[in-house]
Structure formats: structure tokens, C-alpha cells
């Protein structure tokens, strides 16, 4: 808007050194602006770049194997971090990291598994002690990456699910503990199965001859499309390119292997090709309380275009991504930054928008496919209220 721009830029210009973006992923992160450094002060991971997106990148690397190198580089980037971990006898982070390496396992599920391991290896003598220990572990995990919504939400939900049992009334601590552990494992299992359930639920929405637009590489969306292909449905997929990490290309690659007809678009061709699209499928980093979703940059734009052309927008998200957040606008989020390679050198005075995700308000979404069922956006809040209050 006109009124903000002038002073805004000047203010930014004063306390912000222009950042060169031409570095590759492997190079060390650029020196960050003072405000960002303050925010991440207590964060054990001193990297300003969103760890969530690094994990994603690593996973994609393993999935397609031509990204392996970069993924290893991403892991290699925390030598000090590994050192810190090895000093302790048992660490959630370590456990979490080991789970995180599995390409098919979502970050939140890895966290849930790690927390279950905390209960297993706990030497607590009382329930209270165990609960405190668990709380500490989940706080550590959350602090490890504050930008990951699903990690935070998964940890919170786990704490809710596990500690909200009648186990605390058991007289025998061991049986109570095993009960809590049982619940933890069960929760982990539910979370693991979530993707399959969503794929099953969404099959009714994919009809023969339809054209589906997808954005980015969402593992849930991929699962849906894979299941549909296995069910011998005939459909066509339009993949956006998914700049800057080209996740759309990866998805197109995978779909082509399944013999699904795929067309690749650049991100800016969405409106151009929207008239041939029957439905839009996107994943989600997090589903917020309003029923909107936070997802990879570009989702909002696609949802807006689809909304104005009256095409349904479906979001596939596991219920552990439901977060108690309520962003009012795009800037009302914890920023998740990542490097962007423009291919050409960016002049030093040019500012670069490096945010990795945007927020899509609920009025632009049609339905959410979750493991709780197919929901309208407004039901998300109902579920969250019932879960948390």
C-alpha cells in the first residue's frame, strides 16, 4: 500500500545491510540482520535459515538421489550441533535427527517418535517427573526449529494426547508409564497412517478425465495422486515449477514414473492454465485456527486465481499439522527464510523477499482432507477447540 512503502523502505535501508543472494545452498548462511539474530538467540540451532525447509530439501534429495549431495551438505552444516548432542547421554534432538533422516517420515512424526523414545528411556520415578521431563523434551524440540509449524503443533498435540489420560490415577507408576507409552506409540502410529487415510478419503474427489493442478512437492498430495493412479483413475496433472527449490519438477518426475500425464508450468503460468484445471490440490506446512493454511510460497496466489475462476481448492494435511495460530495477514507469521538463487547476480542494493511460505485465508479454500475426515475450513477451529480446551 502506498502509505507504508516510503518510510518502510527507508527504515529497512538504515539498519539492514543488503544481502547478497548469489551464494549457493552449501555456502554458510549470510550474516543476518540484527532483529533476526535476536530472535534466534536462545535457539540451539544458530542458523537463520528455516530448518524445516532444510529437512524438506534433504528429504527430496534422498527421494530423487540427485539431491543427495546437497542433503548431505545440509546435514554436514551443523558440526557444532552434533558435538553438543554427543555430550549428553540421551538427547531428544539426537533421536529426532535419527528419525528425521527417513525421507518418508514427516518432521512432526519424527518428533512424536522422539518424544515416545523420551518416555521409554526416562528414569523418572513419578508421573509428575515424567511429565516434566516430557515437557522439557518437547520444548527443546520446539526451540530447535521455531519456524516449523508442524513440529510445534505435533509436539503440542502429543503432549495433549499422551498426558490427557486416566493413567495419572493409576496407583502403580510402572503400569501408568506403560500406559502413557502405549498412547504415545499409538499416536505415532496414527500419525504414520494419516497419509494413507487421507489418500483413501480423497479418492472420491478425483474423477476420470479431470485435470489437477498441484503446487510444490507435498508428500500427502503425492500419496493421493499415487493412490489414484493405482486405482486406475485417468487424470492429468499440472505441476508448477515450485521455485526456488524446484520441488514441482521433482513431483513431475515422480508422477511421470507412475505413467501419469504431467505438464510442467512455471509458477507465473498458473492463471494462464487455470481454465483447463478442474481442481487444485495443495499440501500444507500448517493448518491454522481460522481454517486457512500456511504453505509453500505461491499457494495463496494459486488459491486466489482458483477462487476467482470458481475452481475448488483442496488442501491435504494431516491432523498433526493443526496449529493454534491465527495469522491475520501474510506478515503475521514467524518468518521462515531460505536462500533464493536467481541465476544472475543480484545487485547489492536490491532487496530480496526470502520468505519460504505464505498464508492462505480460509475463504479461498474449499475443503481440507485430513485424517479426521474431509472438513470444511471452519471445522478446523472446532477440532482445535475440542482438542485444546
Amino acid at each position: 500500500m502506498w502509505r507504508r512503502s516510503a518510510s518502510f523502505i527507508l527504515d529497512k535501508h538504515d539498519n539492514n545491510k543488503p544481502i547478497s543472494i548469489t551464494q549457493s545452498i552449501d555456502s554458510p548462511p549470510p550474516p543476518e540482520s540484527s532483529s533476526m539474530a535476536e530472535e534466534t538467540n536462545q535457539n540451539p540451532n544458530p542458523n537463520p535459515i528455516s530448518a524445516y525447509y532444510q529437512t524438506r530439501a534433504a528429504h527430496h534429495g534422498i527421494v530423487t538421489s540427485d539431491w543427495l549431495e546437497q542433503a548431505q551438505a545440509a546435514v554436514r552444516r551443523y558440526p557444532d550441533h552434533d558435538l553438543m548432542v554427543s555430550e549428553r547421554p540421551f538427547s531428544v534432538i539426537e533421536e529426532f535427527d535419527s528419525w528425521r533422516q527417513q525421507p518418508d517420515l514427516a518432521e512432526a512424526v519424527a518428533a512424536i517418535r522422539a518424544l515416545a523414545a523420551v518416555i521409554r528411556s526416562s528414569e523418572a520415578k513419578t508421573m509428575m517427573e515424567l511429565e516434566i521431563e516430557l515437557k522439557k523434551a518437547s520444548d527443546t524440540l520446539k526451540a530447535w526449529d521455531t519456524t516449523s509449524i508442524s513440529l510445534t503443533a505435533g509436539c503440542d498435540l502429543f503432549m495433549r494426547y499422551v498426558t490427557r489420560t486416566s493413567a495419572l490415577e493409576f496407583e502403580d507408576f510402572n503400569s501408568a508409564k506403560s500406559r502413557v507409552l502405549g498412547r504415545a506409540e499409538k499416536f505415532g502410529e496414527i500419525s504414520c497412517k494419516a497419509r494413507k487415510i487421507i489418500a483413501m478419503l480423497s479418492q472420491d474427489f478425483i474423477f476420470d478425465g479431470c485435470t489437477i493442478l498441484v503446487h510444490g512437492f507435498s508428500r500427502v498430495v503425492f500419496e493421493i495422486l499415487k493412490t489414484a493412479a493405482q486405482n486406475k483413475k485417468l487424470f492429468r496433472v499440472l505441476c508448477t515449477e515450485g521455485r526456488p527449490d524446484k520441488t514441482g519438477v521433482l513431483l513431475a518426475n515422480e508422477l511421470a514414473k507412475l505413467d501419469v500425464p504431467v505438464k510442467l508450468l512455471i509458477d507465473s503460468a498458473v492463471a494462464y492454465s487455470m481454465d483447463e484445471v478442474d481442481m487444485v490440490f495443495v499440501g500444507a506446512d500448517g493448518v491454522v485456527e481460522s481454517g486457512g493454511v500456511i504453505n509453500m510460497m505461491g499457494t495463496y496466489q494459486i488459491a486466489l486465481v482458483a477462487h476467482s475462476m470458481n475452481k475448488p481448492v483442496y488442501v491435504a494435511a494431516e491432523s498433526y499439522k493443526f496449529a493454534r495460530l491465527y495469522p491475520l495477514d501474510q506478515k503475521d507469521l514467524e518468518p521462515a527464510l531460505r536462500p533464493i538463487d536467481f541465476g544472475v547476480p543480484v545487485p547489492p542494493k536490491v532487496e530480496v523477499e526470502r520468505s519460504a511460505r505464505d498464508y492462505t485465508p480460509p475463504q479461498y479454500l474449499t475443503l481440507l482432507f485430513t485424517d479426521l475426515g474431509v472438513l470444511t475450513p471452519s471445522v478446523v477451529s472446532d477440532e482445535l477447540i475440542q482438542l485444546y480446551l
Binding site: 477451529s381 472446532d382 480446551l389
Partner: protein, 648 residues
């Protein structure tokens, strides 16, 4: 998921309770023997098949149910029937009614209307010819619900099919007893006075018929309106003798009853007869204003400013109204207390004082007498100024607390309990809720923001002051409107606290909205369709904000949520002093011209609306004590917490 669906199905059941024109469902038709065995053939009402079908319609909504439950458990000693058997009797009834009911099977089997004691009262009117003594017996009890169920049980056992139903029903319904109680509470408030009276009269008619004295009259009325057989029409409580004009009169009463069948939550001031009646009881003498606004005739429109001197002189001679309540009423009338929370707290504290000074008259029950007292206070307060939704909720809470008082408490204990309950309500639902709201809302204020607010909301003021206190850098735009100019007070307080403020009137909203990045609004109430009910002008602000895509944040305590649905600003509103908008205080000559010319002009009506409703699509977020929620989630909060709220 399942529970949600179950809850959705309930209105269907309720529909059976309220609507007299029910279609015979196929299930009813397939069981001819049952319906015949249930209705007494000798009754004049059972001429047509439709009158058979009417009996399930008599299911009274369950206002009394929980009362009955509590009283039965309390009055266990004097009644010579063991509690368990009473329950079974209830359950028999439930099954009996359930068998009629197409939607009934699993759901209504445990639902309150069927297990209500009042059902038996009604059916009594149908069976009345046979069982006059049981009716007499029951009427000799203060609330004869359970006795009647006993008596009803006897004829039921005549039919075999019912016996089977009973046997199968017992085991099932005993287990669901607690569930029943719970559900009944949620449905409690839905009965209307009219329906209760209708039942009472139906019962009386049956009794009279059984005695053989008034049988002719009953027949007459039965013939006069065969379709309306549900509500045995009868001349009013005055006990008018049966004359030749009876049928005419009954037709009128029937008409009235039918009108009152619709559950009314508010008095409609264009209903002449009711207004007359209310006037007789009134403490405050109001003169109706001359030039009434057509569209708002259903709202009270009185002359302003002439009652206060008389009322304040009356303060030494009052007997029915406690002085604390009287004081609050006068303050409301004079406008000394404004703001929903302040009004509500003042009212509750007055009630607290009144309860403290209360002593039960001899031969009376504390719970009943106190409820009646409170009712009187409330109607006095309504005369002074119509209640806000939040006050209605608070009163409902208080009445519920009174009705739930354990029987074994001594008077002073009961009073202490009630006072502490009220205190807790004020603390938890209002004061603490405000603190929580401030904590939530302040996270939405970032540095460099321009926050627009309208009028003066105490929660919004707290938010702004707190945000300033914790060092956020932001600017405030206060939009105000005539005639109250509440924003000026807010402006003064904010400026003295060192906030950067801009003050403007609502006329400039489309200009000033460009600057705003957030709109914070207070609320008088939020309805379950997400409609915001707030100071008039709020809707305009929200719409302009929406047009400029500025997020609108509404701050509202959860006790102000209301389960009703509001679609416009007409049905439920309050009218302010019409002179206030006619007079411009700074211009003496304007005032002069007004009193001279305009007041006598029949074609000129001043409309000073106090509230308006904002549709939910203009609201981005509601900050409440349960967190930040979208407006679509209001029904969830109402559903999930109303019960707890009542249990508080």
C-alpha cells in the same frame, strides 16, 4: 464427529415438540393398533386420526425437567414412592411417547422431553375422564409431576405391547439416566410461559370434565376448534362462567395462544394486551412517546427524563425492590453506568447485596421464593433499561445456581454459597476473561501499526494500554459518533497515558481507514451465527474495514455469547433518547428550533438506535477468553461451554 451429528439431530426432535401441524409419519400409520389403544375412544377429541397424532405433539419442552429432577430428589422423604420406581415410571413414559415418534428411536429414548414429568400432566388431560381422582391427587401436590406419572402408568399396563416396551425400556433407560439429566439441562430454557399455561389449562379442563360439571363446556370448545385440540381452549384464569359467548371468546384465546406458541425471548411492545399487563406490574411509570418510529414499534419507546425525579423520591418508600437493585436500576435509567461489563457487574453486585439481606419468609422455600424475588428485580431493571444479552446470561446463571442449591443447606449457608458464586462469576467470567483477552490480543499488535477503534470499549482500552505498557510502538485512531461521544473519554484516558492518538468522527471513516492496519472492536454480544451485536456504527466500521481489507478483531468475553441467531438489527435492539439526536448541544439556537417546531410534527420521527448487527463475514477474528477463534466457531464455544458455564 458422531457427537456433533447427534447434536444436530436434536432440533428435529424439538420440532415435534413445538409444531402443532405435524404430518402423520409413515411410522405412525403402520401402527394403527397402538395409536388406538393409547387414545381413549370415548374422548371427543379422538374423532379424527389427526387428533390421535396430536398426542405426541404435547411433548412439552423440558423447562421443568431439571427442576423436577431436583425436586424429586429433594422431596424424596415425604413422597411414599421409592425413587427408583419413580424413575421407572418416567422411563415408561419416555418409551410410550417414543413409540409415537418417528425420529425417536435411539435418540429420543434418552432425550429429555419424553422423560419429562409434564408429559404426564398433558396426557392426563386426555385420559382425564377415567381418572379423575388421580388428577385431583396430583393437583394437591405443589408440583405433581411424578405422581402423575405413577397414575399414568396404570392404564398403560393395560396394553400388552406397552408392557413389552416397558420391560425392554427399563434396562436401557436406567443406564442412560445421567445422560438424560445432562441433556435436559441444555434444553431447559426453551419452554415458554405460554406452553406451560396451555398445559395447566388443559389439565384443569380435564379435571373439570371428569367431575362432570364442565363437560359441556369442554365439548363445546372441542368442537369449536377440532384442529386445535392440543391446547384445550378455556376462558382465562378469572374463571369466566360458561355463557353463550364462550365459543367466541375461546376463539380469541386460541388465537392468542397460537401466537404465543412461538417461543418469545423478549417482550414485543406492539402486543397491546401484554404491554397492558406489564404496565400493571410496573414500578417505573413510563409515558409512551408521541411520535413512535413505525419499524420499531416492538421495542419500548418512552418519553425520557421524566421518571427519574419521581423514582428517586420513591427510594424511601419502596418495599418490593431491594434498595441496591433500585439504585442500579436508577443508574441504568440515568445512564450513569454504561458499558456492558460495568452494567453487568453492577447488577450482579446489587443482587449479591439483595441476597445477603434476604430472609426466607415463613412457610416458603428459599429457592422458589428467591427466584421469584430475582424475577421481580429483573423486571424492574428491564423497565429502567432493557437488559443487554450479557446481563441476560448472567441472570440465567444466577437462576440456575439458585435452582441447583442443595436442599440440606441452611439459609445462611445457601446465601453465602450464592454470593460466592456471583463473586466467582464476576471474577472468572468478566475480570479474568478480560485479562486473558488482553494477553491474546496484544500478540496481534506489532510495532508501527495503526489501530483503529470505535466508541469506547473497556477491553480494547485495556489492550491498548497494556500494549503501550510493554513498549509496543503504535498509533491509535479513535472513531466516535454522536450522540454519546463515548470515544472522547477513551481519548482522554489514552492520551494521558501517553499514547499517540487520532480522533475523528464516523463521517470520516472512509478516509481514515486508509491509515489503519487493524481494527479492534468491542462487543455487546455475539450470536451463534457469528453476528456481532454492538454499539450502533460498528457494522459500518467493519464493512469499511473489510472493503479496505483491514483485519477486524472483535474482543468479547465468552459469557456474552448467545445461542440465538440474529439476522438484522431490527428484531432485537434498543432505542435511545430521540431528543439526543435532535439536539446539538453546542448550538443553542438549534435546540430552540427543535423544541419549537419539530416536536409537534407528526411526520417527523427520530430514531436513535443503540445497537446494530455486523454479519460475521466482516469479522476476521474474535478474541475471547478461550483464545482467538474465527466467528464460525461461536456455536462450538456455546455448545461446549454453556453446560460448564451453568455448572460453574
Amino acid at each position: 464427529m458422531d457427537t456433533r451429528r447427534g447434536a444436530l439431530a436434536v432440533p428435529k426432535v424439538r420440532r415435534v415438540g413445538f409444531f402443532t401441524t405435524i404430518e402423520p409419519s409413515p411410522q405412525d400409520l403402520t401402527r394403527p393398533n397402538r395409536t388406538q389403544s393409547d387414545t381413549i375412544p370415548s374422548s371427543p377429541l379422538s374423532n379424527s386420526p389427526s387428533s390421535n397424532l396430536i398426542s405426541p405433539i404435547l411433548i412439552p419442552p423440558s423447562r421443568h425437567h431439571s427442576d423436577n429432577l431436583t425436586t424429586t430428589s429433594r422431596a424424596a422423604a415425604p413422597v411414599p414412592v421409592p425413587g427408583l420406581r419413580r424413575y421407572l415410571a418416567h422411563n415408561d413414559r419416555s418409551l410410550h411417547v417414543g413409540s409415537y415418534n418417528p425420529v425417536d428411536d435411539s435418540l429420543l429414548g434418552t432425550s429429555p422431553p419424553s422423560s419429562n414429568g409434564e408429559v404426564s400432566e398433558d396426557s392426563n388431560s386426555l385420559f382425564g375422564f377415567q381418572r379423575s381422582d388421580s388428577a385431583k391427587l396430583s393437583s394437591s401436590f405443589p408440583n405433581g409431576g411424578f405422581d402423575l406419572t405413577m397414575s399414568v402408568k396404570a392404564p398403560q399396563e393395560l396394553t400388552n405391547s406397552k408392557k413389552i416396551a416397558q420391560v425392554s425400556g427399563k434396562s436401557e433407560s436406567v443406564t442412560t439416566k445421567s445422560q438424560k439429566e445432562k441433556e435436559s439441562k441444555s434444553l431447559k430454557e426453551k419452554t415458554t410461559k405460554a406452553e406451560r399455561r396451555a398445559m395447566q389449562e388443559a389439565q384443569r379442563a380435564a379435571k373439570a370434565a371428569a367431575k362432570g360439571e364442565g363437560s359441556r363446556r369442554a365439548d363445546d370448545s372441542g368442537r369449536a376448534k377440532p384442529g386445535k385440540a392440543t391446547k384445550q381452549p378455556q376462558p382465562k384464569k378469572e374463571g369466566l362462567p360458561a355463557t353463550s359467548s364462550v365459543s367466541e371468546k375461546t376463539a380469541v384465546t386460541v388465537e392468542k395462544e397460537r401466537r404465543m406458541d412461538v417461543p418469545q425471548t423478549q417482550m414485543q411492545y406492539d402486543d397491546k394486551s401484554r404491554v397492558e399487563k406489564a404496565k400493571k406490574r410496573a414500578v417505573v411509570e413510563q409515558t409512551e412517546s408521541k411520535n413512535k418510529v413505525e419499524l420499531f414499534l416492538h421495542l419500548p419507546q418512552y418519553e425520557r427524563g421524566n421518571q427519574l425525579p419521581k423514582l428517586s423520591s420513591d427510594i424511601f418508600t419502596l418495599d418490593t425492590i431491594h434498595h441496591a437493585v433500585y439504585k442500579v436500576g436508577l443508574q441504568h435509567l440515568a445512564g450513569d453506568i454504561s458499558g456492558d461489563n460495568a452494567r453487568c457487574i453492577a447488577m450482579l453486585q446489587a443482587f449479591q447485596e439483595a441476597i445477603n439481606d434476604y430472609s426466607t419468609p415463613p412457610m416458603k422455600d428459599l429457592a422458589r421464593d428467591l427466584t421469584a424475588k430475582i424475577k421481580g428485580y429483573v423486571s424492574f431493571l428491564i423497565e429502567c433499561r432493557p437488559l443487554s444479552m450479557s446481563m441476560g446470561n448472567a441472570i440465567r446463571f444466577l437462576k440456575n445456581q439458585i435452582s441447583k442449591l442443595p436442599q440440606n443447606l441452611s439459609e445462611s449457608e445457601a446465601k453465602d454459597l450464592l454470593c460466592s458464586d456471583i463473586g466467582r462469576f464476576i471474577d472468572e467470567k468478566i475480570l479474568l476473561a478480560d485479562k486473558v483477552i488482553v494477553q491474546h490480543a496484544v500478540t496481534k499488535i506489532r510495532d508501527g501499526e495503526v489501530i483503529l477503534t470505535y466508541g469506547s470499549s473497556c477491553v480494547v482500552e485495556m489492550i491498548l494500554l497494556y500494549a503501550h505498557e510493554i513498549g509496543k510502538q503504535f498509533r491509535v485512531v479513535i472513531v466516535d459518533s454522536r450522540p454519546n461521544l463515548e470515544g472522547q473519554k477513551l481519548l482522554r484516558r489514552l492520551v494521558t497515558s501517553g499514547l499517540d492518538c487520532t480522533y475523528t468522527h464516523i463521517n470520516a471513516i472512509s478516509y481514515i481507514m486508509r491509515d489503519a492496519t487493524r481494527v479492534f472492536l468491542g462487543a455487546s454480544s455475539i450470536f451463534s451465527n457469528g453476528t456481532l451485536y454492538s454499539r450502533v456504527g460498528t457494522s459500518c466500521i467493519a464493512m469499511v474495514a473489510n472493503a479496505f481489507s483491514v483485519p477486524v478483531i472483535v474482543c468479547c468475553e465468552a459469557y456474552k455469547f448467545h445461542e440465538r441467531v440474529l439476522l438484522d438489527s431490527i428484531c432485537s435492539n434498543e432505542l435511545g433518547d430521540p431528543d439526543a439526536i435532535a439536539n446539538v448541544p453546542l448550538r443553542a439556537n438549534a435546540k430552540h428550533s427543535k423544541t419549537d417546531n419539530n416536536n409537534n410534527n407528526k411526520n417527523l420521527q427520530y430514531l436513535n438506535l443503540m445497537y446494530d448487527s455486523t454479519p460475521s463475514e466482516y469479522i476476521s477474528m474474535i478474541v475471547t477468553d478461550y483464545g482467538m477463534i474465527p466467528p464460525t466457531s461461536i456455536p462450538v464455544i456455546v455448545r461446549e461451554y454453556r453446560r460448564e458455564n451453568l455448572l460453574l
